[in-house]
Symmetry: C2
Subunit: 339 residues, 2 copies
Amino acid sequence: MTSPAVPAPRTQVTRKDVARYAGVSTAVVSYVVNGGPKKVAPATEAKVQDAIRLLGYRPNAAARALKLGSTETIGLIIPDNSNPFFSLLAHAVEDAAAELGFALFLTNSDGNLAKERRNIRNLAARQVDGVVLASVLLDPDLTDLEAAEIPSVLLSHSERSAGFTTVGVDLAEGARKAVEHLVWHGHTNIGLAMGTTTGNEGDAREDGWLQALKDAGLAEGPIARSEFTRVGGYAAGQRLLASANRPTAIFASSDMQAIGILRALHEAGLSVPGDMALASFDGAVEAEYSWPPLTTVEQPVRDMAEAAVRALVGADRGEPARHRVFPTRLLVRQSCGCG
Amino acid sequence: MTSPAVPAPRTQVTRKDVARYAGVSTAVVSYVVNGGPKKVAPATEAKVQDAIRLLGYRPNAAARALKLGSTETIGLIIPDNSNPFFSLLAHAVEDAAAELGFALFLTNSDGNLAKERRNIRNLAARQVDGVVLASVLLDPDLTDLEAAEIPSVLLSHSERSAGFTTVGVDLAEGARKAVEHLVWHGHTNIGLAMGTTTGNEGDAREDGWLQALKDAGLAEGPIARSEFTRVGGYAAGQRLLASANRPTAIFASSDMQAIGILRALHEAGLSVPGDMALASFDGAVEAEYSWPPLTTVEQPVRDMAEAAVRALVGADRGEPARHRVFPTRLLVRQSCGCG
DNA sequence: GTGAAAGCGCTAACAC
DNA sequence: GTGTTAGCGCTTTCAC
């Protein structure tokens, strides 16, 4: 069914209609609908409920929002909903929000700073009660939100950021765990496929990789930088294979990159983990179904999403800004040489 | 930044403040902000713009929505945003909506009928201007939307449905193409891994598979039914392998199932396409990065999303309900035996 | 070209 | 327990 070419005459049933039909005042209807703030006699309540049902009354959220100054809505900004990590994150945020009666505006920034800013502005204009931002930057511009006094939290953000509530994982520690595992397998030349960020900022996964190497007394392996995507990983994989000191193992900063590397490896006729071991980061389901299944550092996406929403509009609302770090877990599968 | 424990005193700058500051009436501010419906003298306009900038004025969307009866918002209901097919669809719908100045409420039904209905109701209460529904059912219950006179379109819907605008692909034809290709490779025993729907309704992909077999004078191959997921595909794959008349090729009704089948095949030490050829449906990016890359029937997701949004709130709004079928394309890769 | 004012549907303080 | 009513911020008709 599509909308009529000419807008139909406003046929909306209002609170007033219900009141008239039930023979009460509009206030009473409000009390019934909202369960307060005043008590209503059971008999009256029944009359009102009947009227509501009969008339098919549905409260107008816009009017309510105008009056209350709250839309029961939050906004989410992610780089790319078609990236498995973010789509899972979005799903989890939606669940957490719905749990609290909040609806979720989904916006993609496509790794584009201007678009991210536009989305922030747009959400602010729509009077959302909060925004969850998985930014392309370490230090996003939140002035529009601040001006509108809209709380925000930085999700999938691994650095403490003064004055902001942030939730993420310890990237360095996660990366270190994965690389240490590769070291444990006996590898002495471990390469890094590192994702690049829009802001060209450093990434702690690189530090973790380096630290693990140092701790093991190993030389720094080759690095290939590329996008946090399958295509990016594919290119990085090819470069790593062609490098003068070809590694025997690779740590990839995301599962998507590892998937790309896997393709490069397969095309080169190399076996994994025999000719090249692999470990990555994120814990996407896709990594469990690659061949071989990827050993990866899992991020507790649902927990992080819940924490973000709770800090924004749930129980933790109003608590002082802080950096919440969630634990990662090394999912040991076969690409590393286990099993 | 989190919200203050005690709601700050409403500090919002309103149209009235701007008017006072600029020394004009509130009507003029409206004219300037909306570029109409009346003309404003350039000098006045400048004064108003200055005031807006200085005061940091931002229009209140809720008030506007209340007045206009339109929220410039659409709702999307999909089964699962962490399924690559739907996450891409959601991204595309968001893009199409944003293009038209509409924001997108994302909701997941998790393949759950009750949840789908709850989401519909919730979106209706929020006065969305339209809803795009990728239902778990062939014949979803849209009464809440109809009662609220909210237009809707059924997306990723392959059956004509009287009175509804629907957009989808010809599943039977797509499946037929894939199976015909498998036949062309010389296979005579082609199994089917068929996804099951919540409503237990038939799926035209099955018809397409059967038709291709019949047209080629082939006997009906074995069928394994399971969920439209990786896990489902994995189980289906195992069953197909164990079946009395094990096929030499499988057509899977979704890429996710094929990914699962691939795992079952690998675990069984079978080579693809050597020991078992494979083709599937959807055209997810993940299918391009599996090993071997999957031959799959691509759905034009972006085109479908755009068509849905356009029919809802864009140029095609108000056109009579119709069933829009988009063409699929066989993406020939290696799992079928090519290359 | 500009302004005054009605009213969108709702909540809740206040009066009874 | 129930009713009256004043706005929330905005758009737009109608008068000037």
